[in-house]
């Protein structure tokens, strides 16, 4: 990682009619780092990715990718980036090699250089043995690997990954996270979007937390966690409607924030040792039974809750 900027986003806006998807977002991604955009669905992460990939034109603002403007130099931007879409985007009736050959040509590779690069990528994604197999007959994990491989063909300086782990099994997810780290170790800058706090925490050098089209916090993991200071986070479940205790707990001394969803409550508190007895006491008084309790150190989830009043899962 160095201090030069791979991506510079400057007051980026995007609206679709009356719907404001991105509202004045600015941040920089340093060359060689893994940068995560963390936020719930609808936060505007994918819209930013689409604008950086020159799929959508911003309503206002601009972004520079390796010094190239997404507005004025889209072809240079596209040549510099490799986009790994959220959904698998492959030709299932072509073989793995035919897919890589075709996409390589779309990135301007030809002849011997293309053949060599396809061979290399097949090795990287572990599909050399299955290169002639029809993609339609591949397992989900193999397709995911090929989906990533295509974005690597032209040795991009920046890899953009849009929620690559949504809806996949834990093993494939693990592989993808390892791939991201490997790519980064090879010198590629990675812009990674996710709504899984633990992925952002594990991978990222820097994280921007997004909500409702805005970046609400930005920094390293440690910097972000400091926002919530020394607060503890308590996750608990109850056997009744949360409304029965919500108001009472919000007014309880030592509790900063409470969010509830489907019987699961998340609280930010000063000291869990002090607050927990009070929670049990008021639950007993209202006839509610606490069925599980989990105390966690401050994390990104707590940061999001602290900043928005909602859990990241909402």
């Amino acid at each position: 990682m160095n201090n030069s900027k791979a991506i510079q986003i400057q007051d980026l806006h995007k609206n679709f009619g009356d719907v404001y998807a991105v509202r004045g977002v600015s941040f920089d991604v340093r060359a060689g780092e893994i940068f995560s955009l963390l936020g719930p669905n609808g936060a505007g992460k994918s819209t930013i990715i689409s604008m950086l990939a020159c799929l959508l034109a911003p309503t206002q603002g601009d972004a520079l990718v390796m010094g190239h403007s997404i507005l004025r130099q889209p072809m240079a931007v596209k040549a510099a980036i490799g986009v790994i879409p959220q959904e698998i985007a492959l030709y299932e009736d072509l073989s793995a090699r035919e897919n890589l050959n075709f996409w390589g040509k779309m990135y301007g590779l030809r002849g011997a250089a293309l053949r060599q690069r396809v061979d290399e990528v097949l090795g990287v994604i572990g599909l050399t043995e299955r290169q002639k197999g029809r993609v339609g007959k591949f397992s989900g994990g193999m397709k995911r690997r090929l989906n990533i491989g295509i974005a690597l063909l032209h040795k991009p300086q920046v890899i953009i990954m849009d929620e690559p782990t949504v809806g996949i099994d834990p093993q494939t997810r693990r592989n993808i996270l390892d791939n991201v780290k490997e790519l980064n170790q090879q010198g590629m800058t990675v812009l990674y979007t996710t709504h899984y706090m633990e992925e952002a925490q594990e991978l990222s050098d820097h994280i921007a937390i997004m909500d409702q089209g805005k970046v609400i916090a930005h920094g390293t993991h440690d910097e972000l966690v400091k926002i919530v200071g020394e607060l503890d986070r308590i996750d608990l479940t109850i056997n009744a409607e949360s409304e029965r205790v919500l108001e009472r707990w919000q007014a309880t001394e030592g509790i900063h924030q409470v969010s509830a969803e489907n019987g699961a409550l998340t609280l930010l508190v000063d000291d869990s040792n002090v607050v927990l007895p009070r929670l049990f006491e008021s639950a007993t008084e209202t006839g509610v039974r606490i069925t599980s309790v989990e105390i966690q150190e401050p994390n990104l989830e707590a940061v999001f809750l602290h900043l928005t009043g909602r859990a990241l899962r909402d």
């Binding site: 072809m75 596209k78 980036i81 698998i88 985007a89 030709y91 035919e98 075709f102 996409w103 779309m106």
Partner: protein, 422 residues
Amino acid sequence: MKVLDIALKDMLRSFRSGFALVMMFVAPLLITGIIYAAFGGMGGDGGFDLPLTRVQVVNLDQPGPQYSFAFGQMLVGFLQDEGLANLLQVTEATDETDARVAVDNQDAGVAIIIPPDFTTAALAPDGRASITLYQDPTLTLGPGIVKGVVSQFVDGFAGTKIASGVVADQLGQRGVAIDASLMQGIAMQYGAWAEGLGQGWDEGAHPLLEIQLPPTKAEPVSQETSIFGAIMAGMVIFFAFFTGASTAETIILEDEAGTLARLFTTPTPRAVILGGKFAASFMTLIVQVVVLMLASAIIFRIHWGEPLAVSLVALGLVVAAAGLGVFIMSFLKSTRQAGPVMGTVLTLSGMVGGLFTTGIPNLPATYGTINLLTPHGWVLRGWKLVLAGGGVSDVLLPALITLGMGIVFFVIGAFIFRKRFA
């Protein structure tokens, strides 16, 4: 170069699809082949190989001793003539009941029963006799041929009878006595004249009839070309329009699959990407039309016509099919919409364009005008002209109109697609 890469990728995908191959090549050849087989194929001499109609003739004709010939026997000989051997398989039966049973048992298609007084009735001025045709009700074509042949023969005797009557009247008015031998002589002379006329007719000449064709440099076309050429042309046109729409549908398909958006993230201009998709449509159609024409020329012995004129018409078809395909698909949002819309629009326009009635002669002129409301109708008109031996000058108008229609459809469709993916 990238345009070609995209087009070749799409073509490869199309030709790997079993469904696409069936729709592009198998279905048009199969449908024409079924019609071809229904007509029993074509003989090497250019005529239909119609199945032989088995005929049993019961000749009960017993002319009196005053007659030196028997019309019944002449009819049997006429039916057994070599010229009819490829149509009729004639055997003689002695018993009327046996002949009818043979038809009932489908051992014969038709029984011809010549009555005992056939010759006598034919020559007597007021004589009447009927030949009975007893036919298998499940057959249509064979009994029709037999009826035509027998009618031709009987008409000849009707002429003989009229001639004999006129001569007898005129001689009677002049007081000349008429005997049976005179009447026979008249009948024989008339018969000889009629036979000569018939032979001349068979050879295409008639003393009172001159057949003229429009002036053209074209070679006369064979029956395969005139009949199956039109049917095959209808099939080629119909399925080519399907291919045009199907290949254009891949734009929507790729949009849904996410590969189109991914293509847009590569350093490839959008115009090149859409151009590649459109080029795939043109190239696939060219392959389809050429393969179908070559295959049908070999299988059905269709002579498509003058190469330059054929190329012009084929180009019109390719452009019109690709253009209409892009036009239709540009209005659709999903492949779920595409299937039913494509099927309905192309089938209806094919019907209106006259693609399913190419083998039916003498359709009303209004219908021909309605055909020309669609690009299909104009392509078909061009194709019929080349099949009839027309040259470039003959097909220029329909070819230019189909090209024009195709280009207009294409420009509108491409504009809508570009706007959608801008």
